[in-house]
Symmetry: C2
Subunit: 315 residues, 2 copies
């Protein structure tokens, strides 16, 4: 009965052997990969190193009963590479992953996780260069993603100027509806695209590179547009006025909001699970594929008049 | 009653504000530190980037009831920088820390953790360049430590040759005795130095740099000498014969072993909590401050005849 095997049956040594077999491949940026005390990476001359770390925690970001390990691996890559994308001109270099696993976890789950990490490492050209395994009561995954950037190609959070437009790329609110359906325990057929939007988040690396030199400020929309706008407003010392009437919304998202009696724009302003990019550009410079989300003014705070209730936040 | 404040009272925003205030300082290697989507770091031209990640998990590596948060921060730095030290010629560049915290954790505990991280960042000249906060049922800390190295100054695990000596630097078995006393719930006065050895692990960065160009293989002794020897043996394709009679042992460690009826050398062969360096050198090149731990032969596996029972491991 191979399906009843547990992580404790593989043991740390067994798991490490599988990891080395899968990931100890040479790549241009990785001189020493998994299997030594530390990874050794090559940073091309003249480029800066970018590094970020983000986690997925059982009970907080996912529940084991509705989580396929390969999808979780994909989401771990997406949320981390999304942070790199939000810096502008970034090319992924490598990543390092820590996994906290309960000994009683099915071995097949751990192997599904490794397979998923391997697929994403190839898809995003971000080799897994090292990591750590720890025994833990609940599953957690922590990834440090590294990339390199032209020093002049970075976009900070602090460069928004009065007169700029606030804009976005990527879906808005679709994934938050998907995770809400997952948590409810039953996903109607019409909701499938929303759940897929949650699991198949794509980091906006190409969009980020196109926006380098164009956007005056940028971040990835991980905790919702209201929060993102507040962060840009505080970092840049400006007021942001949200206006979501041009934001894209799928039929499934519109139906989700109707059935839950939610205001569509309010929902889109709060849900950040899509990990799109939110940025500011000078007026008239909105790039193709991006949509307007509001405007930047002198002052402080965030104003949102388009939701069910007026919302105004001052720090 | 400020002492009854919880992490949930500070909120993520409150915690982040404290983190930015403490860590958003310029340093030569850190161009962009905490507060943006990713950290931007400068890797000096011609040097490789080294990166490693290690975790401390509540219930696995520590219990909240015997853990001071500042000591935990120190241990997090030590276990990670120890991995960098084991690569040979390494200078720390920066680190990134993920923290999983329960909302009900005392706010003072989280603030003690931040203060401890700040002290270690200064002590080890390893600025905290970014991180992540996540809600979690149990505390976990995951650090990615980065350093830079001369390409010719790296020591792998795979270079041990028959005829080499096996050697160590740093304490051996003292910290494992300390953690055993902590777990037992009562620490006798004579055991204080052992507990201190556990909490005050020093990463062997200077020793690592001295050993670059001298050691033929090296790793940090995190999981015990038997395990370390097995790893070097497998990576290098050699047999390692352990002989611990020259290994240092404090009076407190000798007493611990006497009172617990443990064989001293057996205990030293199994406990790895000290994070010393274990390495191989050509005969006659044992550096000052290091001690002999055995010899390297043709063959496979690890032979340890000095313990209470003969031990022989073949993969």
């Amino acid at each position: 009965m191979p399906s009843s095997k547990r992580v404790s049956d593989l043991g740390e040594t067994g798991l490490l052997r599988r990891i080395y077999a899968r990931f100890a491949r040479p790549s241009p940026g990785v001189l020493i990969g998994p299997g030594d005390d530390a990874a050794a990476l090559r940073v091309p001359p003249g480029r800066l190193l970018l590094a970020t770390q983000d986690d997925l925690v059982e009970g907080t970001h996912f529940q084991l009963d509705w989580t396929d390990p390969a999808r979780l691996a994909a989401r771990l890559f997406a949320v981390n590479l999304s942070d790199l994308a939000a810096m502008g001109d970034c090319r992924p270099l490598a990543c390092i992953v820590s996994a906290g696993l309960p000994p009683g976890l099915p071995a097949s789950w751990a192997q599904g996780l490794l397979a998923g990490l391997g697929r994403c490492a190839r898809r995003y050209r971000t080799p897994l260069a090292g990591g750590n395994l720890a025994r833990s009561k609940k599953v957690f995954l922590s990834m440090c993603a590294m990339g390199t950037a032209r020093p002049g190609g970075l976009v900070r959070r602090s460069g928004a100027r009065p007169g700029d437009l606030l804009a976005g790329v990527g879906p808005l609110g679709e994934a938050a509806a998907g995770v809400s359906l997952l948590r409810s325990g039953s996903v109607p057929r019409w909701g499938t695209p929303l759940v897929r939007a949650f699991w198949e988040v794509r980091p906006q690396l190409e969009a980020g590179r196109r926006l380098a030199g164009l956007a005056t400020s940028m971040l990835d929309n991980s905790d919702g547009l209201l929060r993102s706008a507040r962060i840009l407003s505080e970092a840049s010392g400006v007021r942001i006025r949200l206006d979501l009437k041009e934001a894209p919304a799928s039929q499934a998202l519109r139906r989700f909001c109707r059935e839950r009696r939610l205001d569509l724009r309010e929902h889109q302003a709060r849900g950040g699970e899509d990990y799109g990019l939110v940025f500011t550009v000078p007026p008239g410079r909105l790039p193709r594929g991006a949509y307007r989300l509001g405007s930047v003014e002198k002052g402080r705070g965030v104003v949102f008049e388009g939701g069910a209730e007026p919302f105004e936040h001052f720090r």
